[in-house]
């Protein structure tokens, strides 16, 4: 009893000290409470009137877009493959606690609650099995006995993830790439842009910081030209303009719109990544390079072994933020006649008159999916930062 009294007393004290310290402060507090309350009531009103049928009948369209019926297994295979990689990586490198597991579990339940159906119950169970067993296997077996080897295998698999996705989608007379859609398309485009854009950006960043004039000017030119126009402009250029004046080498003009979108997104990402990397390079004191020089290390050795590891470590937050931005930018491909997640969210309320006015429900689900990926990436970034001791140096 005494304890409760104390807590309430402390609570009141805290409120008085922080929220009602002066007249102005009290007024602000009241205004903000009214504002938040208003927003909350508004949202409550929406929830009461919400009708989720539009999302319910279009679950497949949101996740896979116009992928022809009968190809759902490709989507599941991609999910399972990614889950195996993610969960073994956590097992090898990560140190999650109970809270992390709980959060992941709750988010996955919400996702399956929205998108699962009775038909997919076995697939969902397999997903859970596949997501948890590699974690324990790699944590309690691989990590102890074959740490170095499994680390290498995992890194290699992460590099191969995109070819594997694409093989899963194409193998066995798969659908045309321009029928890939929904959330799957955003994930594939973003992975390609990041995985292809990162090495390219690394080279360009080093190039711009280099002392060779030709390389420096070429890299600067590339970066400034690409950054100088909006992504939409580059996408439209790749769609309409390039085929009209480029020679038709290697059937480049007939390649699918998806491939063209991948190329443009990678090029676009590389310019931004290059600038982030350059920022990191500049943060490393010149003395280190001179010291390496004095020790007789070659420029390549000192760049890759001394400067780059430190530079990348510094720019991890900025890099991940670029990745998140790229992921969300993939929704611009709707102008290339592709049906990505956002476009599905925009079109499904128009399917039938009874869905009219249900835009909010559809877009809320779209926003949730984008949020899950973005928050996972930013969480990964903050864990990397902690593991590398950034900010505590």
């Amino acid at each position: 009893m005494r304890l409760i009294n104390e807590i309430t007393r402390d609570g009141f004290f805290w409120i008085k000290e922080n929220l009602f310290q002066s007249y102005l402060n009290s007024l602000m507090t009241l205004l903000i409470v009214v504002f938040i309350g208003y927003l909350f009531l508004d949202f409550l009103g929406f929830l009461i009137n919400a009708d989720w049928t539009v999302v319910e009948v279009n679950r497949r369209l949101l996740l896979l877009g116009r992928l022809p019926l009968g190809n759902e297994i490709r989507g599941w295979l991609i999910l399972w493959f990614s889950m195996i990689l993610i969960s073994s990586s956590i097992g090898i490198w990560g140190s999650p606690n109970i809270k992390d597991f709980l959060i992941i579990f709750i988010i996955s339940l919400v996702i399956f609650f929205i998108f699962g159906t009775l038909n997919s119950i076995y697939h969902i169970l397999i997903t859970y099995l596949i997501s948890f067993s590699p974690y324990f296997f790699s944590k309690y077996f691989l990590r102890k006995k074959y740490f170095e080897l499994s680390k290498r295998v995992l890194i290699f698999s992460w590099i191969l993830i995109i070819p594997i996705f694409i093989i899963i989608l194409l193998i066995g007379n798969g659908p045309k790439p321009n029928l890939w859609g929904g959330f799957l398309l955003n994930i594939i485009l973003a992975s390609v842009a990041i995985v292809a854009g990162f090495p390219l950006g690394l080279i360009l960043g080093l190039g711009r910081a280099s002392s060779f004039p030709v390389i420096k000017i070429a890299s600067t030119f590339y970066i400034e030209v690409i950054r100088g126009a909006p992504l939409v402009a580059w996408l439209l250029l790749a769609w309409f303009v390039l085929p009209t004046f480029l020679p038709n080498l290697f059937g480049l003009n007939e390649v699918s719109i998806v491939v063209r979108a991948m190329i443009v997104l990678s090029i676009f990402a590389s310019a931004y990544i290059a600038e982030v990397i350059r920022g990191g390079l500049q943060s490393i004191p010149k003395g280190q390079l001179e010291a390496a020089d004095a020790l007789g290390l070659s420029t390549i050795d000192s760049t890759f072994n001394i400067i780059l590891p430190q530079a990348i470590r510094v720019v991890i937050p900025a890099l991940v933020s670029t990745f998140i931005a790229m992921f969300k930018d993939t929704s611009l491909v709707f102008i290339l006649a592709l049906t990505d997640l956002l476009q599905v969210g925009r079109l499904i309320p128009e399917q039938e008159p009874e869905f009219f006015g249900r835009q909010l429900e559809a877009l809320l689900v779209v926003a949730f999916l984008f949020w899950v990926v973005s928050i996972s990436l930013s969480n990964l970034s903050s864990r990397l930062e902690k593991a590398m001791g950034i900010g505590v140096r």
């Binding site: 009948v57 877009g65 309409f240 006015g357 835009q359």
Partner: protein, 321 residues
Amino acid sequence: MDVVKERGELKCGVNDNLTGFGVVMPDGSFEGFDIDYCKAIAAAILGDSSKVEYVPLTASARFTALGSGEIDVLIRNTTWTASRDRELAQDFTATTFYDGQGMMVYADSGYKTIEDMSGATVCVLQGTTTELNLDDRFTKSGIPYTPLTFETNDPLQAAFEEKRCDGWTTDKSGLASKRAEFPASAGGPDALVVLAETLSKEPLGPLTRDNDSEFYDVVQWVVFGMMQAEESGINSSNVSSMAANPKDPGMARLLGVGFDGGEVQDFQFGIPKDFMQKVISQVGNYGEVYDRHLVPLGLTREGSFNALWTDGGLIYAPPFR
């Protein structure tokens, strides 16, 4: 057209988010009034209405996509205007749907014509041709009015429900569906009437690139053929019996069969002579397509421009001979 035949697929530029005209269904397929014309053209040229690659286009990308050859034909509720026909180097083939700007008012307001609406407040979307047409119309009759403009449809509908405006103007096809969906709490569809007057002409139809007259003719005559089929009473369920036993020479020419053992007339379109049989059996005639997609939206055909010319409308096909 040889490109289409060689590819074995028709690339059709369409809308993916306009109810009744072109939407993507939950299984990923396209459906709608415009979509059915893509299917009809594919059935005529390739013999199979499913051999269509749909390319969903935004309003701003549609003409570029057609001009650059990304699509073969554009059927995306596009209004036929002089500048588009001439400047875009693209040809309008035929009108499949006559739309036009209309005015919706409350039934109890007593407004029967635009002339009655002196001093009325009209809800309209900002920065559209709709807004300009509205001003033209009221200025022409010298009637004072107040426009109430909105960026998007939802707040506009809310304002109309609160009776902050007396009239709501947009394309008649849009008004009909908004009326059909008008919430019962605000009086339901019966509380509203769409005035008979049409403020602007919006003929919608398929486009092809300039200087491709062979393909242009095929697209045009497939559309005309579907109108003629309805006029002659041929539909998807009776087309095979009609083809086996045509009632008159005109029907025989349309279906590409001989009449009474006579010769088959070849129009030299460069596609099988019986192309209209494929179109009608796989897609249907004009009326069937209309009934399937637009009647559920509340777009009645009777008394509108989209009735057959024999019923006082504008749906009229030149003769097949």
